[in-house]
């Protein structure tokens, strides 16, 4: 079996848990812990058949900005600290003028979105990254 690091050979990658990743802990509506955010107001993770979808609402000048729905790629989470093994996801949002590559995961009950924004227009804005935290909408 080909490998480039020891973790490529981790036995759990062939185990049933990794083969049947359960997104249940990530599903739902997540609200930004920072009510003064200038970034993402909320995020909803849902099932769509065998797929997982992610909807993000950005904070706008005149109200919410609804990003196009993205399909998530589920990932086994092998070695998260404190023995947490909740799966993680990546999702890419195509906004035309900008691409947002994200990864999403839960850390101690907090939903974390890390965003890498690449501008595709000629606005001269710097590509940038951001990390925000979300609580589950009860």
């Amino acid at each position: 079996m080909d490998f480039k690091q020891n973790s490529h050979l981790h036995p759990d990658l062939l185990g049933p848990a990794a083969a049947n990743l359960n997104p249940d802990k990530l599903l739902g509506r997540w609200i930004n812990t920072n009510w003064e955010t200038r970034g993402i107001a909320e995020c909803t993770v849902a099932r769509d058949g065998d797929d997982i979808t992610v909807d993000i609402t950005g904070v706008g000048e005149d109200g919410p900005i609804y990003w196009p729905t993205a399909r998530a790629t589920p990932l086994a989470n092998l070695e998260e600290e404190a023995g947490q093994r909740t799966m993680a996801m990546t999702a890419t949002f195509d906004l035309g003028f900008m691409r947002a590559d994200t990864h999403l995961r839960i850390n101690k009950g907090v939903f974390v979105i890390v965003l890498f924004a690449t501008f595709l227009d000629d606005s001269g804005r710097a590509n940038y990254l951001n990390r925000e935290f979300f609580y589950r909408d009860a």
């Binding site: 079996m1 080909d2 490998f3 480039k4 690091q5 020891n6 973790s7 490529h8 050979l9 981790h10 990658l13 062939l14 990794a18 083969a19 990743l21 200038r38 970034g39 993402i40 950005g58 904070v59 706008g60 000048e61 900005i65 990003w67 790629t73 589920p74 990932l75 086994a76 989470n77 092998l78 070695e79 998260e80 799966m87 993680a88 990546t90 949002f93 906004l95 035309g96 003028f97 900008m98 947002a100 590559d101 990864h103 995961r105 890390v114 890498f116 924004a117 690449t118 501008f119 227009d121 606005s123 001269g124 804005r125 710097a126 590509n127 940038y128 990254l129 951001n130 990390r131």
Partner: protein, 139 residues
């Protein structure tokens, strides 16, 4: 500014084109904080001809495995900044792909890795997140 497209308020910045994001804060030799890692032990980050590049050394059963050099994209902390705060990078090994999203937090490089297998081994795609310190000679 009203014609500027944006997805969140933080995208809206005064028009002051950022011609180059300075990667200075990223450049150097980064070592994994976990001596027992089964993943990437060291990352050397350099700039060549204005482009960021990585050289990764990962832990294998018989010692470190040199992944070679790969180009990386620099990201700032906000759309008006010209200071590098993170990067993305992809290594394509043929049988697998490793994508990185990394950012500096409190002096540490936090590296998120996304591994996807393209062979018929039936291994699951997986995620890793590890911390790296820049080696230095100050103390």
């Amino acid at each position: 500014m009203s014609k500027t497209q944006y997805a969140q308020l933080s995208d809206l910045v005064e028009p002051n084109p950022v011609k180059h994001i300075d990667p200075k804060a990223l450049l150097g030799h980064w070592i994994n904080s976990n001596p027992d890692t089964n993943s990437i032990a060291r990352i050397n980050i350099t700039e060549q001809n204005g482009k960021l590049q990585l050289q990764v050394f990962a832990v294998g059963p018989d010692g470190l495995i040199d992944w070679g050099v790969a180009p990386a994209e620099v990201f700032a902390a906000n759309p008006a900044s010209n200071k590098g705060a993170g990067f993305t990078c992809t290594y394509d090994f043929g049988f697998a792909e490793a994508r990185f999203q990394a950012m500096i937090m409190k002096g540490l490089l936090v590296l998120a890795q996304f591994h996807t297998f393209k062979d018929d081994s039936k291994r699951a795609s997986y995620f890793l997140r590890e911390y790296y310190s820049m080696t230095h000679e100050h103390f």
